[in-house]
C-alpha cells in the first residue's frame, strides 16, 4: 500500500462519521452528567461522615483515579453478567466513564468548597442554618466559580476519552472508523477524519474554557 488520499471516499464516509460524532457527544454529555452528580455526592461524603468511611472513600477514589479507564470499562461490562446483571454496552460505558470522572470532579469540588472562607461557615452557624441549607444556599454557590475551570478541563477530557468506549462496541466515532476500516481495508481516510473531527471539536472547546476561566478570574478579582 502507498499513500493515496481518496477525496471521493473521504466524502462518502464523512456523513457516517458525523452521525457517529453525535453519539460521541451524547456519550460525553451523559457521562459528564453522571460524573457531575456522583462527584458532588463524593465530595460532600468526603467532608461529612466519620473518620473510617472517609479514609475508605478517599482510598477508593484514589484507586479509580490511578487505574486505566479501559480496564474499568471492561471490568464493568464483563463482571455485570457474572453476578447476574447484564448491562448493554452503552449503560456499562456510561457507568464506567461517569464513575471514573466523578473521582476527578470530587477533587475539583473539594478544592472549590475549601476555597470558601471560614467566615461564611461561621455566619451560617450564627444564622442557625441547617447543614443542608448552609451548603445549598451559602457554600455551594460560592464554591462553584472556583470549580468551573477544573470542571471545564475535565469536560474536554471526558470527550477525548470516549473513543475507549469502542472497545465494548459502543457505536461512537472510533467504532464507526474501525468498522469502515474493516469493511473497506482503507484506514487512512477514516482515522485521519476522526482525528480532524476531534481537533475541530476539542480545540474550540478548550479555547472557550480558557476564555471563561480568564473572565471568571477577573470577575472574582483574582
Amino acid at each position: 500500500m502507498t499513500f493515496d488520499w481518496n477525496w471521493e471516499f473521504a466524502f462518502e464516509i464523512l456523513p457516517r462519521l458525523l452521525r457517529a460524532t453525535i453519539n460521541t457527544l451524547i456519550a460525553a454529555g451523559v457521562g459528564y452528567g453522571i460524573a457531575m452528580i456522583l462527584g458532588l455526592v463524593f465530595a460532600l461524603a468526603l467532608r461529612s461522615s466519620g473518620r473510617l468511611p472517609r479514609t475508605l472513600l478517599r482510598e477508593v477514589l484514589e484507586f479509580i483515579r490511578s487505574t486505566p479507564l479501559v480496564v474499568q470499562i471492561f471490568f464493568i461490562f464483563y463482571v455485570g453478567p457474572q453476578v447476574g446483571i447484564t448491562l448493554s454496552p452503552w449503560v456499562a460505558g456510561m457507568i464506567a466513564i461517569g464513575l471514573h470522572y466523578s473521582a476527578y470532579l470530587a477533587e475539583v469540588y473539594r478544592a472549590g468548597i475549601e476555597a470558601v472562607p471560614r467566615g461564611q461557615w461561621e455566619s451560617c452557624r450564627a444564622l442557625n442554618l441547617t447543614t443542608r441549607d448552609s451548603y445549598v444556599r451559602i457554600i455551594l454557590p460560592q464554591a462553584l466559580p472556583h470549580a468551573v475551570p477544573g470542571m471545564g478541563n475535565y469536560l474536554v477530557g471526558i470527550f477525548k476519552d470516549t473513543p475507549m468506549l469502542s472497545v465494548i462496541g459502543v457505536t461512537e466515532l472510533m467504532q464507526a472508523a474501525n468498522s469502515i476500516g474493516s469493511e473497506t481495508y482503507r484506514f487512512l481516510e477514516p482515522y485521519t477524519l476522526v482525528g480532524l473531527i476531534f481537533l475541530a471539536l476539542s480545540l474550540p472547546t478548550a479555547g472557550l474554557v480558557r476564555l471563561g476561566e480568564r473572565r471568571l478570574r477577573r470577575k472574582l478579582g483574582l
Binding site: 502507498t2 487505574t67 480496564v71 463482571v79 482525528g195
Partner: protein
C-alpha cells in the same frame, strides 16, 4: 481466587513486565518531547515556536486512542512502518509529552525574573543561563505536576493492548476470553495497576522531589 492466581499469576506477571517496559520507554519519550516542545514554545525563532505549538495542540486536541491507531495503521502508508511495541510506547510518550510541554513552559516562566537578570548580568550566554540557572530551578517547580502526569502515562499504556502489545491489559483480556472469569482477570489487572501507581510511581516521584529540593538547598 488462590488457584486462579496459581494458574494465571505467571502470565499476569509477564504482562505486568511488558507494561513496565512500555511505561519506562514512554516516560523517556515524554520527557524528551516535553522538554523539546516546552523550550521550543519559548524560542525566539518563529519556525521552532510554531512547530512546537502544532505538536502540542495536535496531541492535546485528539484522543490517545486515535493517535495510537493513526501511528500504527496509517503511518505505514507513508512508508514509516513501526512494530506494535514501538508504535505503542511512542504514541503514549508523544501524547503525554504534549501535556508535559505545557508544564515545562509554565515552570520556566515561573522562575523569578531576577534569576534571568542575574544570569544576564554575569554575561552568561542564553544557552548556559538556561542550563545552569533557569532549568534546575524550573525542574523543582515542574516535578509535582509531573508526578500526576506519570500516573496518566501509566494509565495510557493500557491502550497499547488494543494494537495487540501483550501488556497487562492484553493478558487480562485473553484470560477473560478463555475462562470468562472476568472479575478475577480484570480485578487482578486493576489491582496491579493500582499497586504500580501507588507503591512505585508516586513514592519515586516524591523521593525525586525531595532530592531535587535538597540539591537546591530548599529542604
Amino acid at each position: 481466587m488462590w488457584e486462579f492466581l496459581q494458574t494465571y499469576g505467571p502470565r499476569l506477571l509477564d504482562g505486568a513486565l511488558v507494561t513496565c517496559a512500555q511505561f519506562i520507554l514512554a516516560a523517556l519519550v515524554a520527557c524528551v518531547a516535553a522538554l523539546a516542545a516546552g523550550l521550543g514554545r519559548l524560542s525566539s525563532l518563529w519556525p521552532v515556536r510554531s512547530l512546537s505549538v502544532v505538536y502540542i495542540e495536535l496531541f492535546r486536541g485528539t484522543s490517545l486512542l486515535v493517535q495510537l491507531y493513526w501511528i500504527f495503521f496509517v503511518l505505514p502508508l507513508f512508508g514509516i512502518s513501526l512494530p506494535k511495541f514501538e508504535a505503542g510506547f511512542l504514541s503514549v510518550g508523544l501524547n503525554v509529552g504534549a501535556y508535559g510541554a505545557e508544564i515545562v513552559r509554565g515552570a520556566i516562566q515561573a522562575v523569578p525574573r531576577g534569576q534571568w537578570e542575574a544570569g544576564y548580568a554575569l554575561s552568561m550566554s542564553p544557552a548556559k543561563r538556561m542550563r545552569r540557572i533557569i532549568l534546575p530551578q524550573a525542574l523543582v517547580l515542574m516535578l509535582p505536576p509531573w508526578g500526576n502526569l506519570m500516573i496518566e502515562l501509566l494509565k495510557g499504556t493500557a491502550l497499547v493492548a488494543l494494537i495487540a502489545v501483550p501488556d497487562l491489559m492484553f493478558v487480562a483480556k485473553q484470560i477473560n476470553g478463555a475462562t470468562f472469569r472476568s472479575a478475577e482477570a480484570f480485578g487482578a489487572a486493576l489491582l496491579v495497576y493500582y499497586l504500580l501507581a501507588r507503591v512505585l510511581i508516586t513514592p519515586a516521584m516524591r523521593g525525586l522531589e525531595r532530592a531535587m529540593a535538597r540539591r537546591l538547598g530548599r529542604a
